[in-house]
Amino acid sequence: MSARRIYMDCAAGVPVDPRVLEAMKPYFTDVYGNPSSVHSFGQEAKKAVEEARNRITNLIGAEIKDEIIFTSGATESSNLAIKGVAYRNKSKGDHIITSTIEHMSVINAFKYLQKEGFKTTFIPVDKYGVVDLEALKKAITDQTTLVSIMYANGEIGTIEPVKEIGEIVHEKNISFHVDAVAAESQVPINVVNEHIDLLTLSSNDLYGPKGVGALYIKSGTRIQSIIQGGGQEKGLRSGTEDVPGIVGMGKAAEIALKERSQESSRLSKLRDRLIKGVLEKIPYSFLNGHPTKRLPNNANLRFSYIEGESLILSLDMEGVYVSSGSACTSKTLEPSHVLLNIGLKHEEAHGSLLFTLGRHIKEGDVDYVVEILPGIVKRLRMISPLTPKELRG
């Protein structure tokens, strides 16, 4: 067991920022009123929720404060956006569009609606994972009511041309939903300039608590609730608000807005140092995703002739914690749909490693990974029957 512990799996989860935790604490034991209650106890909790709403509004450049709905996380936010808009607009049309590399919460919401009788189109992407705008234009019909495209892909790091997509979609009076989970802590988002009607946000990706998320809804967007209950959150998300969680997400959004620009430029340098170091030192290694239109914290690399889970285990033994798009690390035993849909073969997808950096990562951590990874790759290539003779050393 290595003495080092270098966590480079920030897309999977990050710690709660200590400042966030401090902000949350009073709302567990002191300010425990229900925001729906008329008395002062309830109103104090309500005030905290509204303050959090304002902080999220500021983070994404939204205009009207009532457009933020708190949910149990990004999966619920995207389900609400997609199902809520599709059902609400069923009399106008039954066609909805997304891409082939979305998060499973979007893809499976689309597949669910397909079974419910909606027509769906999955727009292809190029080899870097950029959505094909011509294919999008062609796919839109007079029956289309929703287009859902992610801001950036958390797995391969590619940032989508959201503003251009928004222009295309709005020209046709269609609602535009954007899953911004991978991007929210990394790049500035402006829902007004980028023509976004619905935006999915996650708390944990901002260093807030898990189990909380938000959905931005531009006022005037036709949407209905997908769960029924007491009518909280303007009737769009019934259920007593998770006040400590919401306060935490609000604080996390405030910190992210203040620190994002500086942190992103720091992470970009570390990301480039990692990618350059690995590609230079390891033969037959490649970068997945876009070389420049890329999230500051994301390095997705693949190594020919070896498999991702054995890479993860080997790195784990050296105190480095990462992810892979390999089938062996998925619940379905299928490699990542994102890697397959950018055109990688199954065996290439199996050999991918995903490094996602975060606030705790320092230059020395990156250098350590660049130092140990060549030996790990070499050892696994020695074991692999696929490795060509010249690489066996």
């Binding site: 498999e307 889970e309 020695m382 029957p385």
Partner: protein, 127 residues
């Protein structure tokens, strides 16, 4: 904290009998790189016994550990004894495998049996 037993991790770290036998009497390959697991087992037979055995594996931790384990289980055994080694025996010798790995990555016994059959075909032995 690992999803695997200590024994699996130990074989993954220090695989036994890794490599090739250039003049092998039998070679068996199972799996497919498309699925994420591919194993080749090489055997050398002397007096109906597995005198030497080596493997090469592309795959996850379980794939590498089961390959290593099968070489330990089979070395020195008669052909008949080796044919009786099952996937279950391999998993048990490793202190168990996660349920999801029992089918996809536990191919080492199949690779051994394929190598023995290859030897038998080459020798013209009736199966």
């Amino acid at each position: 904290m690992s999803m695997y037993t200590e024994k699996v991790m130990e074989h993954f770290k220090n695989p036994r009998n890794m490599g090739e036998i250039p003049d092998a009497d039998g070679v068996g390959t199972v799996g497919n790189p498309v699925c994420g697991d591919l194993m080749t087992v090489y055997i050398k037979i002397k007096n109906n016994h597995i005198e030497d055995i080596k493997f090469k594996t592309f795959g996850c931790g379980a794939a590498i550990a089961t390959s290593s384990m099968i070489t330990e289980l089979a070395k020195g055994k008669t052909i008949e004894e080796a044919m009786k080694i099952t996937r279950g025996d391999v998993a048990e010798s490793l202190g168990g495998l996660p349920p999801i790995k029992m089918h996809c990555s536990n191919l080492a016994a199949d690779a051994l049996h394929a190598a023995i059959k290859d030897y038998q075909v080459k020798k013209g032995v009736k199966q």
